[in-house]
Amino acid sequence: MAQTVAQPTATTPALPAKLPLKAIAPWAVFFGILMLVLLYFVGAEQGATSVFNGTGVHEWVHDARHLLGFPCH
């Protein structure tokens, strides 16, 4: 059988190194919270809880809220 001999350099994919937690943490805390705030305004603002008065935000993202699976009204 003309099986090819293993070629480690060609067949072994380069595996990524771990990124240290210290490097991730500041980005994760700041941007993680920012992203969650964005999700809150798309998914829940002026539904069960309100930061702003009125229904403008709710009505503006109304269709997205239904289609993205959030409880709407």
């Binding site: 380069a14 595996l15 941007f31 403008g56 009505e59 109304h62 269709d63 289609l67 959030f70 709407c72």
Partner: protein, 250 residues
Amino acid sequence: MNSATVRNLLVRGMLAGLAAGALALVVAYLLGEPNVDQAISFEEAHSHEHEMEVVSRSLQSTAGLATGVLVYGVAFGGIAALAYAFALGRVGRFTPRATALLLSGCALVAVYLVPFLKYPANPPSVGNPDTIGKRTTLYFLMMLLSVLLAIAATLLGKRLAPNLGTWWATVIALAAFGVAVGLAYAFLPAINEVPKTFPATLLWRFRLSALAIQASLWGGFGLLFGELAERLLNPKPVTAGGARAVPAAH
């Protein structure tokens, strides 16, 4: 320079999330909107009170929909990129591209599919406005629980892998996740506020379109972000028979 790598991943994640959001927006507009319109027609035919229109239907179904879906894409793209920075090299022997697709698939299941199977997406006219507080709490609780259980299952798999091998460790971790999710389904209260005369086919098509939106969002994100991450972490292309560049942290 690891911090710069995290920043680069985050920027790429948000951009990939925006692009995937645009793809999901096309799906939402073409597949989802016709169902929303029909549900609103049903609502108007069966409702006695007429609410004042704050935002017109034509704006809600275009600019409003776009705002919501694109912001959702960017936000989840950013969160997924941060999770990716953590998962990279920690979940198993996967290339950057494979890690991205794996993470994206897990996110689709944990963030959307598992909560959806208990508390599915509802079209307009389904849902009692008086219970919005309870429904919102339960939905976000289910989402949080599902994500935490997915993380716990991953840790369990990692713990079992040295003794049982990767295959059985993965099988057991997935089974444990399934059992835990089943218990959560059994103990969390059910919600059924579908009006008796609401068309079943419309409800089914609406929910299918909601699934299609998420599948295109996370599928598109996994493929695009994986490509961007691969190019960032393994800059040199593979040449036939040649050695591959060592992943450079820059």
